[in-house]
């Protein structure tokens, strides 16, 4: 796909995470207060003199602040949305100043369950407050304050990240001019919550979980995390994509009449689970799935999403993928309908992609051309 008006796409190059300490207490939706906390973040591109070209990219379940580029000492550690963000890419860092942040409760440097609670000298563990999407957005707004960003040109995210973008338009309507909402849902369905509950049960019933305070025992509930990831992974892919990729292929030339790995898909899921359980914190997984479950902006407005979105002033780009059964297109259409009810500027695309929920992370030319065109429009209005 030939980019229009953008240089040939390339990587933002070697990047470095930064950390900011916040000592103004943050009150969570649950009523709990966190007295002080750190947020780790990365930025790409340059903030213009008017400070009008900042774009916040919000992460989903298993990602963090490392959105684009790579680390000099770990060149294989490429940001999770590197195909989208960089010089000449759909979100062009030659034009925009892009911010990625690890959310509170995370396990990649921002304060979370594995961080040491200064009051006890021990990791927070089970005592870390249950965070919500609203809490994350409040923390992100404080980061924006510190970076001198009064208003974002856009807040963008996929899946849970899209929920944060949506929440921004409600919580801080004057601080966000565009929301790019990809593979989203305005709230989880019973089936979505059910999958999360199975994942959480896998973790909390692991004998190494120790009620969430496993850090002091020198163990991690690896088996639970592994299962949680395997279940999650199934929901990210479509039936067709999985069949296409693995079919019924066997690891060896015949079935072995045992319960160890026979099929390629089993091997793949185990590998994904193993990898994940080595770097992800189980408590963070619990917190993030709960934030997903609890996200429901319409709840406070008599289940009327249109009323919930009444404060929003941003323009919206909403994108869904036809084969996404986790957050299927009708869920995005609910958002679009609510925005239409409020006469907000909104464009909605339903990309006919076979990859399921994960499609938002992949490089589909129609999807990327659309995001590129949308950001070119934002850039022209800067």
């Amino acid at each position: 796909m030939a980019p229009e008006g953008n240089a040939a796409p390339r990587s933002v190059g070697a990047v470095k995470p930064q950390i900011l300490h916040f000592d103004q207490p943050l009150r969570f939706k649950s009523g709990t207060t966190l007295d002080a906390y750190d947020l780790v973040y990365e930025t790409y591109g340059r903030l213009n003199a008017a400070k009008s070209n900042a774009v916040l990219v919000c992460h989903a379940l298993n990602a963090a602040h490392h959105v684009a580029g790579y680390y000099a000492d770990a060149p294989d550690n490429v940001g999770w949305w590197d195909n989208m963000i960089g010089p000449g890419k759909p979100l062009d860092t030659e034009k925009f100043f892009v911010v990625g942040v690890n959310n509170l409760g995370g396990c990649f440097g921002s304060t979370g369950p594995k961080s040491v609670n200064p009051a006890t000298g021990k990791p927070y563990g089970s005592s870390f407050p249950v965070v919500t999407v609203e809490d994350w957005v409040n923390a992100q707004a404080r980061l924006a304050d510190r970076l001198g960003i009064a208003s974002f040109a856009a807040v963008m995210g996929g899946s849970l990240g899209a929920m944060q973008a949506l929440q921004w338009t409600i919580s801080y309507p004057d601080r966000i001019r565009n929301a790019v909402v990809v593979a989203a849902a305005p709230k989880l369905s019973a089936q979505n919550i059910a999958f999360n509950e199975v994942a959480r049960q896998a973790i909390t019933t692991d004998p190494d979980f120790h009620g969430g305070d496993y850090y002091g025992h020198g163990v991690v509930p690896r088996r639970g995390l592994r299962l949680a990831r395997m279940i999650g992974h199934i929901t990210y892919l479509s039936d067709d994509a999985m069949m296409e990729k693995f079919g019924r292929s066997l690891r060896s030339d015949s079935i072995k009449f045992h319960f160890d790995v026979d099929f390629e898909i089993e091997s793949y899921l185990r590998h994904q689970g193993d990898k994940f359980s080595e770097y992800f914190d189980a408590n963070t997984y619990l917190l993030i799935t709960r934030a997903l479950d609890y996200f429901d902006p319409a709840a406070e407005h008599g289940d009327d999403l249109s009323k919930a979105l009444t404060p929003a002033k941003a323009r919206f780009l909403v994108v869904s993928f036809t084969s996404d059964w986790r957050f299927a297109p009708p869920r995005s259409r609910e958002i679009v309908k609510a925005l239409l009810d409020n006469r907000r500027d909104v464009s909605y695309a339903e990309i006919d992609a076979p990859h399921g929920h994960d499609a938002f992370l992949l490089e589909d030319p129609r999807y990327h051309a659309l995001v590129r065109a949308y950001f070119n429009g934002i850039s022209a209005r800067l």
Binding site: L317, R333, V336, K337, L340, D341, R343, D345, V346, S347, Y348, A349, E350, I351, D352, R366, A369, L370, A373, Y374, N376, G377
Partner: protein, 203 residues
Amino acid sequence: MNGREQVTLSERSDFQAIAAWIKPDSSVLDLGCGDGVLLKYLRQTRDARGYGIDIDDANVLACVKNGVNVIQSDLERGLAGFDAGSFDCVILSQTLQAVRRTEEIVLDMLRVGREAIVSFPNFGRWDLRLQIALGGRMPVSPDLPYQWYNTPNVHLFTIADFESFCASHGIRVLERVVLHGGRPVTTLVNIFGSLAVYRIQKS
């Protein structure tokens, strides 16, 4: 799904007629909006707050490039997601002849819009009648530029057909403009008109 994609603004003589009927600041839904040039025109000339609907990926992209709101959706599935009376005007510009569920679409437009504007190529024009009557071949004209085997138009009809449809479906015609070569036609419109534009409402 329609012939609008490659057509530039100047070639679309129905745009001015449509714009003249759009009240300033009104909300407009354009069905089969193509690249969004009509909506852009209505925003520029009438301050209209518009949304387009189109199924085609390239058209959705073109609308975003044109800075026009577009909702990717299949017209043939109807306007089920839209509340009754939620738009001041619903437009179907040179698309009616290309939709399969003609009746449903027109009635749905009049449910969602307080008014509707429909434009279509008139199959009753004299030269088209002659092509079929004397030439024995399906007509081809600047407004109907396709051969029978590659046309996206599945329902070809005349001004008289449309007015009879309105009468039998409880649809009131508020205004009508008939054009040929971009100029208004006032006499024997079903014979001399090549493009008809109607402003309609539920009776």
